[in-house]
Amino acid sequence: MTIRVTMTVNGEPLTADDVWEGESLLYVLRERLGLPGSKNACEQGECGSCTVLLGGEVVCACLVGAGQAEGAEIVTVEGLGDGEQLATIQETFVDAGAVQCGFCTPGLLITAFDLLNRDPHPTDATIREALAGNLCRCTGYEKILDAVRLAAARQSSSA
């Protein structure tokens, strides 16, 4: 048996056909909707690499069934910028050297983007707590902290 799933992804209504009911939102995004930006690194919600916004909430797309996303608004890393310009948090990840292999980056960007929306001036302890569900194996997190601090500073100076 297969199902049809329709959702709005990065502002665009999209439909996936022939979805096996056991597929996750992550699989549908990556393999059926041509959006491989969200990464699969553990498939059990431990690493945060597949983090997306679902109805404005941060979720691990690997833990969401495709059917559960029916009708939902999804934002992935591909939708953080406006198509022309990167979002501030994307720019500061590059500028601060927070990207090495980059496999964790899409999930971290979504989580950090959400944090800065909720708390434009987070303390270091708050940043650490917010990003605690996103594993990075390359950076030791120092430059990721720098990138989030830099994004907070840039957004407050341009606001």
Partner: protein
């Protein structure tokens, strides 16, 4: 003569700058294509059936039911391997697909291609393998104690072209390699102060985030194209050619985006399997390991059992070291011989020691195969020798910093192998700089910053602070006589009236920033800002492995050499046009040293592009003698030192690392931001080994193959770092640079353990530290 760089115009984004990564924008926008992101119309999904037993004889394999499942295109076993049935980096002993016997849990037995990954997984469960289970060899002491009893292998494997030249290897029995180092007269040496210790290092996983994956596409010529995440394209291809029975030129590898490596991609994983399925079905085949499969699908860091005895005079000056290091290589050879080489030749640390007797063994067991991981043999020994140095400091009544300074090697010192350290070795300086750094504030009031963190286990009662120091030594590049080289093609041409450089190598970017540094070298050497780095593939000569902290050194050397060739040709054109004289290329201009700017680079390129390919190798190294360890085995040494500050809840056995400080000599910081990134990331992996990371085994079976149960440091576990970088040029290396990636992984582990010992008073002998080591049988004093 060199001129002060302050007064000389430089090309922006060159050597010593920190330009942003050329792949950065792609990586933050989700556009960067990792090996698991690849897609082709009509592609199939491959999956692997693996042995559930650490050791068993295979009576039969029945694939009939699996083949009948709708959607399944192929089910292959060892009988379908077209060529050599075994492969390996140094010894060809690892089956492409198991035949006769499986020797570790997770060994590949059969592969499936189907139209959906779930179909492939279900088909794999329908394959019937009849196993005759045999007791596995799980204890490396058992393996080495009885070399001809309970052999893991019936027959020795064959040396490959990758074997270190004349490196002693003993595939007979269970001993892969036994390397002795004898220096001075260790049997006769006596000392006033003697300290002993037994130490153990658990099995660590590289835990890169991007699982093993790739896409194999059958070619019209009967060959195959493979897009894959790896560490060394050409050595993959060599092994694949044997297994697939294809000439190398019919196997075309292109590097796909790599989600970290850290050694785990040095051995083959899905490369041959995906190509077998693609060649059999005539369709593209994608294979992507799950996290669980990834734990079975790559080698790990060798666990180690070590016994050390240090003798010193009353002032703590070392007289002798006697050491045994036993490394569990698991079921197949992988790079165990080279790991033993490092553990033995570097196994007493960066100290001057008159008498040394070191024995290091790598052995076969039925545990998971172990091989390359960041630090490669130097990590395990450093935990032991640094623990010993702290014991010695306590025994003679001096500080941990002072004991290391009193014994520090320096330029001109002689290693126990007899090799002279012929470049800066600022061991004492690193320790002094660490000690001079300010200490962090006392334990925090914020409970998130206490041991136990957000679990809210303490408000500070039972929390004790400790400080620890450690330093390590690591060789850079491939050692022991290996012909270690890289190849670079550099072309300078006009693109839309602007001079532009193309750099093409097969050297693998795994996240460390090699693409950035290659472009920086081209900018500095050719005075051109616009540089494109071509995708790494096998259409150009080998780049060597992205391991051993070697790529900036060796591929960097190749890029520089190719640029020098291009520059010479361009300067010939300048001489023809502007007359005899000395010229340099900088910031798009041609400068005469006498007359200043005489023209621009673009105008010299109107006559056509200039291209050069260079193969570049570092100075030769040599094998070591099997019985004495004598030999100039290494090309370069790198040093990093750490100070760790920890808070320990001595009642609950919980640890919080409060701060890590590091000082590292990098020779020349080619890209200062990237250097910091390597030191931060390497230190974090050392922290993981100290306090949480272990592949846990029971009777040869993995107990924790997931990120739920195998813990790596989160942003809550990793403390703020203070880092100081020294640039003491190595006269033998390009730009004076020193390999950067591995040293920080080596010393952070023993520094953290020393700090935990200082806080808790417990004589810790094993990493990773578990709570029960601190609170159960703790011999507090």
């Amino acid at each position: 003569m060199s001129v002060s760089t302050d007064t000389v115009r430089r090309t922006p984004g060159g050597v010593g700058d920190s330009p942003v990564r050329p792949d950065g924008t792609f990586k933050v926008s989700g556009q960067f294509a990792y090996s698991s992101d690849l897609y082709m119309d009509g592609m199939l999904w491959g999956t692997t059936l693996r042995s559930p037993h650490p050791r068993a004889r295979i009576r039969s394999i029945d694939v009939g039911a699996a083949l009948k499942l709708p959607g399944v295109s192929a089910v292959l076993t060892h009988e379908d391997v077209p060529g050599e049935k075994v492969y390996g980096l140094e010894i060809a002993d690892q089956p492409v697909l198991a035949f006769g016997e499986v020797r570790y849990q997770g060994e590949p037995v059969a592969i499936v291609a189907a139209d959906h990954p779930e179909t492939a997984r279900r088909a794999a469960t329908l394959i019937v393998v009849d196993y005759d289970v045999v007791d596995p060899v799980c204890d490396p002491r058992e393996a080495v104690g009885h070399p001809f009893w309970k052999q893991v292998h019936d027959e020795p494997g064959e040396r490959t072209a990758m074997s270190r030249d004349k490196a002693p290897v003993h595939p007979e029995g269970n001993i892969v390699r036994h390397q002795r180092v004898r220096f001075g007269d260790p049997d006769a040496a006596t000392a006033d102060v003697v300290v002993h210790g037994d130490y153990e290092v658990g099995m660590q996983d590289q835990a890169f985030l991007g699982p093993e994956s790739g896409l194999a596409v059958p070619g019209e010529d009967g060959g195959v194209d493979l897009y894959v995440a790896t560490q060394w394209l050409h050595v993959d291809r060599r092994q694949m050619a044997g297994a697939l029975r294809l000439p190398e030129e019919k196997i075309r590898l292109t590097l796909a985006g790599v989600g970290g490596a850290f050694g785990a991609r040095e051995d083959l994983s899905m490369q041959v399997h995906a190509c077998m399925l693609a060649l059999r079905t005539g369709r593209p085949v994608k294979m992507v390991y799950s996290r669980e499969e990834s734990f079975f699908g790559h080698v790990h860091r060798h666990p180690a059992l070590m016994r050390y005895e240090h003798g010193a005079d009353r002032e703590g000056r070392l007289v002798y070291v006697r050491a045994h290091v036993l490394l569990d290589g698991g079921a197949y050879t992988s790079s165990t011989p080279a790991v033993v080489g490092n553990a033995s030749t570097l196994g007493v640390g960066p100290y001057v020691i008159p008498h040394v007797a070191m024995d290091a063994w790598g052995v076969y067991t039925n545990n998971p195969p172990c091989g390359a991981m960041r630090g490669f043999g130097a990590v395990q020994a450093a935990f032991a020798y640094e623990s010993q140095m702290d014991k010695l400091a306590a025994a003679v009544g001096v500080s941990p910093v002072e004991i290391r300074i009193r014994n520090a090697m320096s330029e001109g010192s002689i290693l126990p192998t007899g090799q002279v350290i012929d470049s800066p070795a600022p061991v004492a300086d690193l320790m002094l700089r660490l000690e001079a750094m300010p200490l962090p504030a006392p334990a925090a009031a914020d409970i998130r910053l206490l041991p136990g963190g957000v679990s809210n286990t303490t408000h500070g009662e039972g929390v004790r602070r400790g400080v620890g120091y450690a330093i390590g030594i690591k060789n850079v590049g491939f050692s022991e006589g290996f012909d270690d080289f890289s190849t670079a093609l550099v072309r300078l041409e006009l693109v839309g009236d602007e001079p532009s450089v193309l750099v093409h190598t097969a050297a693998v970017e795994v996240g460390q920033g090699l693409v950035t540094v290659q472009a920086q070298i081209a900018r500095s050497e050719l005075g051109v800002e616009r540089v494109t780095i071509a995708a790494a593939d096998t259409q150009v000569g080998s780049g060597g492995s992205t391991s051993a902290s070697r790529q900036t050194y060796v591929t960097g050397g190749a890029v520089r050499a190719a640029c020098e060739g291009v520059r010479s040709l361009l300067i010939e054109r300048a001489v023809q046009r502007y007359g005899e004289g000395e010229y340099r290329l900088v910031d798009g201009q041609v400068e005469s040293l006498r007359d200043g700017v005489v023209g621009d680079i673009a105008s010299l390129l109107l006559d056509g592009a200039v291209e050069r390919t260079a193969e570049w190798r570092h100075r030769p190294t040599h094998p070591v003698d099997e019985h004495t360890g004598r030999g100039d085995a290494h090309v370069q040494w790198a040093f990093c030192a750490h100070r760790a500050v920890v808070d320990v809840d001595v009642e609950l056995g919980l640890i919080r690392v409060v701060e890590l400080a590091a000082v590292q000599d990098v020779g020349k910081a080619m890209n200062p931001d990237a250097v910091l990134g390597q030191i931060h990331g390497g230190s974090a992996q050392g922290l993981g080994l100290a306090v949480m990371e272990e592949v846990q085994l029971l009777d040869g079976k993995l107990r924790n193959p997931s990120f739920t149960d195998y813990l790596i440091p989160t942003i809550m576990d990793m403390p703020p770092m203070r880092v100081e970088v020294l640039e003491l040029a190595d006269p033998h290396a390009p730009y004076g640079l020193r390999g950067v990636g591995e040293p920080p992984t080596i010393s952070s582990t023993p520094a953290i353990v020393a700090a935990v010992r200082a806080a808790s008073g417990v004589d810790l002998k094993r990493v990773p530290i578990r709570p029960e080591h601190l609170v159960a049988q703790g011999s507090r004093h």
